[in-house]
């Protein structure tokens, strides 16, 4: 990805606290910043409760942010007052949800589910045009036009997720936030849906924010990845780079915990335990350790991480030499 790519979405110091001010205050998202460039896939990974879904939902304003800014096309979306502006935004950012069973209204036919957004945004045109657009979308996501008159319960999980994707595409969005879109599906179906998402992205130049806990899939689909832990991004890098040279101990522990479909490497795999360190009052933030590779740390830790980065790189090269 080249540097001159345009930023489509900028998230700046985003905060979302639940029960703010009360004793049960939960800082689900605590000062999260990242950019998403036009046409790329940005992956957000972490374990349950790390705040990744809350981040996605706050960006699309399903939750009201406690603090921070989100710029979409350079415009602060929390400051848009006019309803016309808001409608436009809601058209341009769409969401695909995790649960294909709960996210489709069981009372509506597939046609009405897909066209609902078009109706709201006055994109449907005549009923013939509306119908044709639905057929087109169904075919695009690998279903067929006969499915238009059916109800969600007649479909399998993978097919429902395709309907959810068609619904998101119906209003010509620029950015799609996919919140665990494949977690509820079987492995072989996951691959189908991921291939579909990639195909659509290639054809339409869409930008994705892909939220998931399955690290191997996230790596496969994302250009860059942010690792979240306790409401913060602890590491952010290009996806290859992140997997090759994880620097933050939390990222290391997360990567070391994934079982690989390979019995030989499984017999050797050592899991690293993560002990969260208390910062002794030092100002921690994301700092650039290597080009485009950021780690959440205090200033004095930067040299440590840079050293670690070099060591890992040297090790990789040595092992490569050994093989050759």
């Amino acid at each position: 990805m080249s540097e001159d790519k345009r930023k489509l979405l900028e998230v700046l110091h985003l905060k979302k606290y639940f029960n703010q001010g009360s004793r049960q205050e939960v800082r689900a998202v605590d000062d999260v910043s990242f950019d998403i460039y036009e046409g790329e896939t940005f992956g957000l990974v972490g374990e349950s409760g790390c705040g990744k879904s809350t981040t996605g939902r706050t960006i699309i304003q399903l939750y009201e942010a406690t603090g921070g800014e989100v710029l979409f096309n350079g415009q602060n979306i929390f400051k848009i007052k006019k309803s016309a502006g808001r409608n436009k935004l809601r058209q341009e950012i769409q969401m695909i949800f995790q649960d294909p069973f709960a996210s489709l209204d069981p009372h509506l036919t597939v046609k009405d589910i897909i066209a609902e957004g078009m109706d709201v945004h006055h994109l449907s045109g005549t009923s013939k045009e509306r119908e044709n657009r639905v057929y087109e979308l169904l075919e695009e996501v690998g279903l067929n036009r006969e499915h238009a008159g059916r109800y969600p319960h007649e479909f399998s999980g993978g097919q429902r997720q395709r309907i959810g994707i068609a619904r998101a595409l119906a209003v010509d969005p620029k950015l799609i936030i996919a919140d665990e879109p494949i977690s509820a599906l079987d492995v072989s179906i996951q691959a189908q849906v991921v291939n579909l998402l990639k195909k659509i992205q290639r054809q339409q130049g869409l930008t994705y924010l892909f939220i998931a806990h399955d690290l191997s899939m996230v790596k496969y689909i994302s250009d860059r990845i942010g690792v979240m832990h306790q409401g913060m991004i602890v590491e952010l890098a290009d996806s290859e780079e992140l997997y090759r040279t994880p620097l933050h101990p939390y990222t290391e522990s997360l990567l070391s915990a994934i079982p690989q479909p390979d019995p030989i490497s499984e017999r050797k795999r050592q899991r690293l335990e993560y002990q969260s360190k208390k910062g002794n009052g030092q100002m921690k933030k994301l700092r650039e350790i290597a080009p485009r590779h950021f780690v959440y740390c205090a200033e004095h830790e930067v040299t440590e991480y840079q050293q670690k980065y070099k060591t890992i790189q040297n090790e990789k090269e040595e092992s490569r030499d050994e093989i050759n």
Partner: protein, 352 residues
């Protein structure tokens, strides 16, 4: 691993009754479980892996389903015909089960202690006091800190991973000979999953239990299993040791499963997918049920069910491709790469 059989399933056939006809969820499964081993059963949802497990435990509803055929031999008893009284003695004592969802497999209105003691006192002659002591020991064994305090708490006071530890504590309370784990880590985060898997392996070593591990995650299988059975449309299509299944798979369905996992250097290539969807098991296809989705299908596949072909003493697969008369086909690249590893393993090399 010793080779004494502890469980022997033959020709197990299970159907569910629905208004539109009988769903043939399990269609003639043959399976053996050896002492102290972990046997993984993998397959897509609806392949019959959980139904097989529930049939062993006789947890299938009598109203909605029936074991049509076959036998499940455990300790000289055919479980498929055992009375409810006999099953009450076996369940929880000789064969215990861990379910997928730790949120729903515990009773929210009872303390953890009550739920552990229930199993203990049902199968062992213990006084209340002894049972309480044992409950604390069990919680300690599964790695729950402060067991005396945690014992008196309710399930909602535990996190998902801790709840699954409680479920495991209940399952191992009576030192079962067989532990059936049905997707025990699917609902958990990877780091928690790793800890639960380590715990299960550790307990297995201590107690010499046999484990039937049901999952669709091939990474978990590679980590846990000694042997693997691959199920598709109610049948076992391939079975072998973990190395045989991962490095020398023979069934095109197994190829598809392995290839649809993203591996490291795949960035811009498409993921391999298995086209189509599983067959309708109310009217299962005549020949090989996988044939319509199988790019390597032969014409005989649509006519006749393939038998289990022997590859080695431990490795069998049901595909006509293994028939001596079948044409030679070349499996996907990823499988070829794995077969090279297998050749080196066979040659006794230490593969890194």
């Amino acid at each position: 691993m010793t080779h004494s059989k502890i469980l022997e399933i033959e020709d197990l056939t299970v159907s569910f009754h629905t208004r539109v006809g009988d769903i043939q969820a399990v269609r003639g499964v043959d399976l053996e479980l050896y002492k102290g081993e972990t046997l993984a059963i993998v397959g897509e949802s609806g392949s019959g892996k959980s139904v097989t497990a529930k049939a062993i435990m006789r947890l299938l509803s009598k109203k909605q389903s029936s074991i049509k055929q076959g036998s499940i031999l455990f300790d000289g008893i055919d479980l498929s015909h055992a009375s409810e009284g006999q099953m009450m003695n076996i369940r929880g004592k000789d064969i215990a089960m861990i379910f997928q969802d730790p949120m729903t497999s515990l009773n929210p209105t009872l303390t953890i202690e009550r739920q552990i003691i229930e199993t203990l006192r049902m199968h062992q002659k213990l006084t209340k006091h002894e049972a309480q002591k044992k409950a604390v020991e069990l919680l300690e064994m599964v790695g729950i800190p402060q067991p005396e305090i945690r014992n008196k708490q309710y399930p909602h006071q535990f996190s998902g991973g801790m709840r699954q530890r409680v479920v495991i504590a209940i399952a191992i309370a009576c030192n079962p000979k067989i532990l059936i784990a049905d997707e025990p880590t699917t609902a958990l985060d990877v780091t928690i999953q790793a800890k639960i898997l380590e715990l299960l392996k550790d307990l297995q070593k201590k107690m010499d239990t046999s484990i039937i591990f049901i999952t669709h995650d091939l990474g978990v299988v590679a980590n846990m299993a000694n042997r693997v059975a691959v199920m598709y449309a109610g049948k076992i299509v391939e079975i072998g040791t973990v190395d045989e299944i991962f490095y020398n798979p023979k069934h095109p369905y197994t190829w598809g499963l392995i290839c649809s996992m993203p591996t490291l250097d795949l960035k811009d290539k498409e993921l391999y997918t298995i086209p189509g969807s599983p067959p309708d098991l109310i009217h299962p296809p005549k020949g090989d049920a996988f044939a319509p989705r199988n790019p390597y299908a032969l014409s005989i596949d649509t006519l006749e069910q393939p038998p289990m072909f022997r590859i080695s003493d431990t490795h069998y697969a049901a595909t006509w491709l293994l028939d001596p008369k079948a044409p030679k086909v070349s499996p996907p690249d990823e499988i070829l790469r794995r077969q090279q590893i297998f050749e080196r393993l066979e040659a006794g090399e230490v593969v890194q």
